[in-house]
Symmetry: D3
Subunit: 341 residues, 6 copies
């Protein structure tokens, strides 16, 4: 792969930072006395993956004004994310409990985020003019506007300015039915925001959800759905999707597909036989797409994103901490996992 001239402009991510709490050693919460914890959140994960790959990233969010918020902030800094747009407010940080599944047992997630510091964000707390200065990408997901009216309005203000500035807006439409409790329909909100976006990350499920359509889940359905999406939202230029086969919780297969307005692209399927951590794999894909759009052709970007996604399954935490070089190796087919000395 040949790199495009790297642009030094920064990437902005907007979304909640959550603390993840998991009983250690495959225990059920009932049996445990200790929990491992991580900080994550879909857009922050994208940002951290990109920062880890050497890209300049800034994250926009509210965190709690306590020892938990201090630790979240330190973690953002640790991953190399710029924190000048992170505000401390007097509400607790959102969190979730995760009982990690295995083989044919599913992971169980239980959220505590409805009254979080992020849910209390409001447009006047973010100086988008300053945040978006010198930005190249603005990334959001379908989770954030589902949290609260404030999150929706804050995000919308950002997207509108981004469009004015010609900033590429990427959206990962990860739809979550158990949010959206604040009085608006998800479709209404997401339509509003997708209409301000440029790159769509999602597949037939998300397109059907958004368009109230019924495209089939095969290649043809993906192409037809993507076309319909672009028709309704003409700012959307490309659709990137990862297709997952869940053999079971510990054994996953992944391939990427893309409709870039001109042709259908597809990667080989990667297989992860001993999954370490399933969380954040979609975010690793999204980060891979963005990194790829900055540096590679669409085809190379898709391969890169798929490899990044596969590699996220193989280590702990919400964030993909594998470097560009290792991702490229897997993208080029080296999947034997031999020791590097």
């Amino acid at each position: 792969m040949q790199e495009k001239a790297s642009e030094t402009k920064k990437i902005i991510t907007f979304g909640e930072v959550l603390m993840r709490l998991s009983p250690s050693d495959n225990r059920k919460l009932l049996q445990a006395t200790q929990m491992d914890f991580f900080f994550g959140g879909t857009e922050m994960n994208v940002g951290a993956s990109l920062a880890n790959m050497g890209v300049e990233v800034q994250h926009v969010t509210n965190i709690s004004n306590d020892i938990v918020g201090d630790a979240a902030l330190a973690t953002l800094r640790k991953y190399g994310i710029g924190v000048s747009a992170v505000k401390k407010v007097n509400f607790p940080l959102g969190l979730y409990f995760l009982e990690v599944g295995s083989s044919l047992r599913s992971s169980q997630v239980s959220y505590n985020r409805l009254h979080s510091s992020f849910a209390n964000i409001s447009p006047e707390q973010v100086d988008w003019q300053k945040v978006l200065f010198d930005a190249e990408f603005l990334h959001w997901s379908g989770i954030s506007p589902g949290v609260s009216e404030g999150a929706y309005q804050t995000l919308k203000a950002g997207l509108e300015l981004a469009q004015k500035r010609g900033i590429t807006v990427t959206v990962d439409l990860a739809y979550r039915s158990n949010l959206w409790n604040y009085g608006r329909s998800s479709r209404e909100v997401l339509e509003d925001l997708v209409s301000l976006s440029t790159i769509f990350i999602g597949g037939v499920n998300e397109i059907n959800e958004l368009l109230d359509a019924n495209f089939s889940s095969d290649k043809e359905g993906f192409i037809a759905g993507s076309r319909a999406l672009m028709e309704k939202f003409p700012k959307i230029k490309k659709v990137f999707d990862k297709v997952r086969t869940s053999v079971n919780a510990s054994w996953q297969k992944i391939y990427g597909q893309c409709w870039n307005g001109e042709k259908y692209l597809k990667t080989t399927e990667l297989e992860i036989t001993n999954v370490i951590d399933r969380i954040g794999t979609g975010d690793a894909f999204a980060a891979g797409v963005i990194y790829g759009l900055k540096h590679f052709s669409d085809e190379e970007a898709l391969n890169f994103a798929n490899a990044a996604c596969a590699l996220k399954h193989t280590h702990m935490g919400d964030v993909n901490l594998v470097g560009v070089e290792e991702v490229l190796e897997v993208a080029k087919g080296k999947t034997d996992g031999r020791i590097k000395r």
Copy 2:
């Protein structure tokens, strides 16, 4: 000490069950990747201490309808607490983060309980008629009615019935200024509830808070304050207090004092030079008082409570897990901590 004929009637406790999360190994949260967790809560701690001593206890509360609530429920059962009055509701369990202090560094606590399953309790969720059947004691603390209007009203309903039934009502007035956000003044509420109580656990600070008074913190102030308290709240028959000298976070001294309406009682001071866990020591004292009132004279009860309080400092968790025999030994002066084979 000679035991009074043990009555088999049960003890009811009412209050929130919280998950405590602490970074392991004296780390700051910022430095940690793991947390130890415990379930506690001031009244539940009292109940668990009593159950551990062989008393029949039932706890009244709401917990979350998820894996966290399942684990809380299992913990209550494990400690031998009756759980037939524990309800599962669709709100998250309250929790707090504790960064454990040491020597001249204070512990830091950060709460996430304002929208918890317990805060959403309401009088119609508790069948007090059934709960108080065959009860001898009902225990509450000044924390619960500070959480929400629902907690206040639910508790009040229970206290009123308890008074009708002639059940002894014990109150530990542990005052917390950072609660009481739901629109009522703490004094108004606490006056209302203390007027329905029989045994007051607290000292000059709590009495001054409640009476808006200014008694001195010495023996004379304690006696005068206790008398004033009993005058205002004539159902109160006895006042039990533990007096703490905090040399530093790792070195504490404790003695108990009591005004039983007739005379002033005081224990010797116990010294804990290498504190393991400070949380729940007041609850261990309250449980000791209740156990003592069931089985011993006031003087023996006070000694027992003070020893129980001291011993709680020496092991992990919110609950005093030391048995009656060991508490009695310390109450009788055996504080050398020699190995028992």
Copy 3:
């Protein structure tokens, strides 16, 4: 599946509670400094699985009168098992060391149970009249009567009363050659006890062992063996069996089969590719059978038991802690292990 009207009568289990000690993190004992511990024992595991599914269970056993016994008792309570028939005696709790195998390396078990508190049980220590009051099922395994004469006689007394009372007696014939040191032949004892049982859990191996026969291990052998068994022990009404293919220690396949006196039933095979803990999987099957007999048709019961067995492989500990709903999902074919939010 349609549930039969749930009967509220309780289930009694009888057998040893053992402490399991395993070096953490796949270490050999030789390399370790820490051990994970669990409390289990084949009949207690069945009881705990059932209690976890909401059934009322009471366990009959002797435990040690020390801190180990205290912890065992607390664990029984935690799982929701009734403990009024658990006695504390001055003998140590039985225990075993388990070095957990992986892939083509076998797990190694080393027992220390010959002089345990349970081995010292005797018929006069159990008030079977009281224990079996209002009971619907009594469950035992072929391990318990192999421990000591006292265990054999105590169990026999219970089975005889159960038969008089019309209680369903389930037996899991898990045969262990390294027991049976107290002077009786295993066949003599097991014949005696199986003749008092109603539901037989076991396969061709166990039938051959019991009948000194040589049935083949295929479907035909299983049917013929089951028929021969029922002929010799006419109280036996149904035979439930799980068939395991051990690809290696980390990869197992399981299906269930049943001869209910009328027809042969068989489930699809479930595959567990990343086994977390192999211990207690047979007990999860037995518990599934009993739960199924209470609530479902034989076919549904068999599917339920097989799914429960498969799910036990996927988490730590001797006890199946997966709930009814999750078991039903797997029983109905959802084995992809996708995250539940």
Copy 4:
């Protein structure tokens, strides 16, 4: 201190190797899911301390023929103890559970050793002729002959041969009332064995126990008791004793005293304010006495033993792992614990 010419002859220790199991992190067993484990046993601890100081040591015992025995054996080798007289037999290794106390809470010990591999030792299993070849010291404690008749007889055979060979026999009379269940009185047995010993490690308590006497616990009582002891057991040449003041479980003071037949010796008192592990401190003293007798004057030996005992309180495990140089520094008064770079 000036070292005596070091003799290269070896030291023999005889006694049980036990596995110690303690819940981690100051938890009660009831609250824990993990245990730390160590191998120890009073005479083995003495041997390991000496081996760690560079002395050639051989230990005589029976261990279990399983993964637990393998780990015990590896631990002996790791400490540099010769294992050619360690036999594997088909009985489980003895073990004990230790709930570690703190401040005014005592440690709790619960044993499981009555049917252990060591309890099943018998004289024909030990080739004392070979074991005592080239030996300078043979060390035993009052615990071993309390375990079983076989242990008593095996030890006696060794002591008799040692006396014939002119080997110095050291005895630490650590008396344990909860042993001695095999039908002999402790006094009868201990008198028999002390009469074959040369160096007595113990104080007024042990002397009173042995002589059925009532010497006072002050200096005068110690001298008078030692004289009476030597009168009754004329082979005894010197008495070494450590005097412990237990401020509480976490704060100990220690000094040593000695009656060497000619004069009374006493060390300064050492203070351990933050005890890490109390187990094995007496054995560290005994090892210090033996090391001292080999290399130093009586006064220096006493100082050395007292410092070794104090240092054992400051690290985990049953064995003193502090080297000669560090012990000498403390013996000479350097107790400030400053970092060594």
Copy 5:
């Protein structure tokens, strides 16, 4: 205390980043299977303490070009330290093993730093013009120039430019005899560098070492020594010193003294009775001095530094992570360590 107008200019620290490896749980390395690790180094610790207090800090060093260097870099970022002057080179990161002492047992340190990435630093690798732009303080210690000729020359270049620019140069003369293996005498080098410094952190020992003098260790000696120091090195304006009484490794007392050219200042003594981690306490003092010089009077600065030093003893790691508010509280006398809710 009243804060001086905060200047926003940054603070530069120069020195090695080391990985510290310590066996967990007070174990000796010999007994352990796990180590806790931290990144530290005397000047980095100062920088991290200051960054944690909200000051802008930049650290100058070389780290390894591998996973260890990646983790070191992430840690610097996490603490909020600017890393634009950190270079990755193909030499391993320096490290040390620390066996943590307790009570009268000393900690043992073993270094592996002689061929480290920092030891291979050279003047041309640091662009001091750029680094010192907008700097207010440059901090160094006596350790760095003892590592290698390159470290000495690199530091000297920085100090010379700092003097030209009028930047305050602070030096903590922590002398280590086991460095200085590269062919220069420590006195020659340190004289050279102290002559370029403004604030001297150290006491009579360091002054005697530097001046080859023999001042007494009392107040008079400190004043006389400070005067002599300033005479010889006229750029030195103030001398700050902490005086430690090591009761034992777990119990320390600390007070600060200062000669500011005009008068002698002294703090009250603070006592730490249960030391958690002794490492980095001197660096916490130095950071406190620098923070104090920026914001407070000399007397307030000394109190602040002493409180910061005391608080560093109470938590894990090389870096003081306690915030300004907490330090001020202790500086003002609140040392009871009561819980903060």
Copy 6:
């Protein structure tokens, strides 16, 4: 298999002992706070495997004169390796960091060994006359002579004496390109040393490396290469090789092949589907070859070595700790991993 008369002569191994440091729980170093550590090194691993199988082994090396060296020495003793030829010198022990890979993510290794205690070994430090007394085998690998000139010369002296004495010299040619920094070409050195060796462990890659040849990697290439090797190095009598298929880091397949000068031998392929630890698997094969040469026919030896190699993948650490009996079972085809009670 029939054992050959066991010869009691000992086996000598020569090479570096390294400390391995790995972040626990599949974490990246960046995310971790704890590391697991092990001591290993290719030839020491071979020695420890053999000692674990009951063979008398002595290891020749230099270790550090500090707490790390103490722990390394204790580990050698623990595994039953003779340590009389291990010297303590004032250089740090070599070490490496290992980030453990999983599925398609590779493990990453980072070394710190260039200035280690072993790198500083020299011929005059080893008394080969004494070491090789009564030896039957001397084992070396291609790693040791790549470390330093001193290591090369020391090894060469040993090999020359071994040849004189008729001792079988086994070489595992594990080639590492990132060593060989001391000024000699690897081929020159390895040719020199292989010419002094008897048994060659390696495959076509190693043969091609050594002979600068280009044999194909199939059976024919292996036979042709082995013949060419024996032609050039006529002392070589047999070539043993393991062939690895790396499905991914967690899934490996292994078979062994041998050219014994007369015929080609090959084992069945063993599959490890859930790899626990890949490190030391080649050394387990080499130890299996040596054990096999001592006790079995070539064919049995090859099967044994292949099974030992497979089993090393299934537990933690650098050393194969599985016993002879278990290896033989797998060698004979029992790979189902069923529990052994």
